[in-house]
Amino acid sequence: MSAVAASVTPGENPFAPSEFERRKASWARRKQWLLLVCCLMLVIPVVAILVYIFVRAAPILGPDYLWLNPANKGKEGGLWSPLIGTFYLVVGSLAVVAPVGVLAAIYLNEYAREGWFKRMVSITVTTLAGVPSIVHALFGLGAFVLGMLPAINRVLADPDNPVTRWQAGLLTASLTIAVMTLPVIITASREALSAVPHAFREACWNLGATRWQTIRTIVLPNSFGGILTGVILEICRAAGETAPILFTGATFFKFVADQGWGKYFPFHIGEPFMAMSMHLHVISSQISQMPEVMKFGCAAVLIGLILFVNSFAIVLRIWLRSRKRW
């Protein structure tokens, strides 16, 4: 006791950090700031760019811009026909990929036994997620446009009347997008299914339910939110992709009626269609003397649309986490 008292001069904190500790702490603080700067370097420029796009687009944004069809190669008018085309593309791809993807996730999470086969399926799903979109485009061209359409036409089309032949269009593009977005749905659904505790399933089996009854009444309802998140992410992806629909059905211009039923159901399933991403691609890089405001307007609408849909996924996830009971 007395020895300690002797070594410390009165009035000085015996626990004060040494010079070495102070240097270490300030080094750590500086590193933390550096990491924060990394985050801000990501977020701030992008937010600034998005704001800039919306500001440049502001003069044209309005109900008419969404409601009118493009005119004069997109230099005038609005965005109705590409918007409705994107809508049908999303619906078409979702109709294919949602059931297949969810069932595949059920297989992987509920039925497959641990082993090389399950491992291989998982690897192919991640591989599929990494395949470049332009390769999906080539696949869509080879498989659906050149492989499937002639087969359909042999059955459906009148050989003497070329007008009845189906062309690359909504059907082929939707299938291409569906293959591309398959891993999005599978991964999200699988995560949602595996978040349901195993005890729930065991309880259900103990009551005499079969495997499928358990999945239908216990597992799926409890993972519905997570699956819905996957579906929303798929919508964002399908609405924004350009490369896969370049050669599989999207076109820059297709006549769409200004009123009547033709405005709401403009594209036959076997006809080329218009899409937002394709429209943005063509007006921003292919057509000379395009007014800048039209380019920025189209980009702003596409960004707004996707961020709007994507925000549902985020809200849904936060809501699900807040009401989680296990």
């Binding site: 985050c39 420029p45 760019i49 485009a137 350009t242 691609h281 921003s284 380019k295 960004i303």
Partner: protein, 331 residues
């Protein structure tokens, strides 16, 4: 009422239960969908490319940069993809140089330092970044970043900045960059595109490190940064490596963004602001004009096979790296 319920078990006719067997078969079938899709992609692309595989001059394909797809005038068609491969490698390399440090830094900050609202906001913003489609990134490169970069890299001939640009290989001439869409713009855009992937995967890898590691480090007197540097980085090494690999895969396969933002000029870049053209952009730009069944058409499919093989290799490698970690920690 309640008695009734117990004495007479409710027998409901439920169609969804009656079709149990067929549904289970359907589930098994869909389980194959991933394998089926990957196999079909390879087969169909290979089917279109196959007739050209024996005829293509492969040495020329990988060593020459003369890409003259259609015979015109006195030029015979020539398929030398070296400049396209160089374009892909240079944009991807530049993107990784920017994206890996920034992405890892952001992931460490979000996972280890940020708390509460800040953490949630940053995660949501990064997720939003990931949702922006590639054509919009291309548009940003073309219309927003391009003009800015052209302004920065321009100078009066003979001025100090012009001379510095030539000396530092930033531009070919003292007047600076000829156009706003070039290697630098494409690289920055690709970096912004691959960063969200790198951040979210690295964050997963860091979160997978058990808390006992952090507690042990703190108990030994390490501060937060030392814990990250000496404990978390080594422990999550494989996961972080896989994140960077997958980011690279994304950058290699990106199409629309580089088509619009990288300049589209078929030559090997020598300075930072040379316009370049990637393999993906070439397919996107030329497939529409290629005559169906022609040599040109089939060579574009061969480019597709090259891309497919590269990205598959990257994905399988990163999968093995991640799985390797899991086996180690379980053992």
């Amino acid at each position: 009422m309640a008695d009734n319920q117990y004495s007479k078990p409710r027998r409901s006719f439920n169609l969804l239960d009656k079709i149990e067997r067929p549904t289970e078969w359907l589930v098994y079938l869909c389980g194959w969908s991933g394998i089926l899709a990957v196999t079909a992609i390879f087969l169909f692309i290979f089917k279109e490319a196959a007739p050209m595989v024996p005829r293509l001059d492969w040495v020329q394909f990988f060593t020459s940069s003369r890409w003259i797809p259609a015979p015109g005038g006195d030029n015979p068609p020539s398929f030398g993809a070296l400049a396209l491969i160089a374009g892909t490698l240079s944009t991807t390399g530049l993107a990784l140089i920017v994206a890996v440090p920034v992405g890892l830094g952001a992931a460490v900050y979000i996972s280890e330092f940020a708390q509460g609202k800040v953490k949630e906001t940053l995660k949501v913003l990064i997720e939003m970044l990931a949702a922006i489609p590639s054509i919009v990134w291309g548009f940003i490169g073309l219309m927003v970043l391009g003009p800015i970069i052209q302004n920065i890299f321009s100078a009066e001939p003979g001025s100090w900045w012009g001379r510095a640009m030539v000396f530092l290989h930033l531009a070919s001439f003292e007047t600076g960059a000829a156009q706003g869409t070039n290697l630098l713009t494409g690289g920055i855009v690709l970096a912004l595109m691959s960063v969200p992937l790198i951040v979210s995967l690295s964050e997963d890898a860091l979160r997978a490190v058990p808390d006992s590691f952090r507690e042990a480090a703190l108990a030994l007197g390490a501060n937060r940064w030392e814990t990250v540097r000496r404990v978390l980085f080594p422990a999550a090494r494989n996961g972080l490596l896989a994140a960077c690999l997958l980011g690279m895969g994304r950058a290699i396969g990106e199409t629309m963004a580089v088509l619009l933002a990288a300049g589209h000029s078929n030559r090997i870049p020598t300075v930072l602001t040379d316009p370049v053209r990637t393999m993906t952009a070439t397919i996107a730009a030329e497939m529409g004009e290629a005559v169906h069944g022609s040599d040109h058409y089939r060579v574009l499919f061969i480019l597709g096979i090259v891309l497919f093989v590269i990205t598959c290799g990257i994905n399988v490698a990163s999968d093995l790296i991640i799985k390797g970690v899991k086996n180690q920690t379980q053992a």
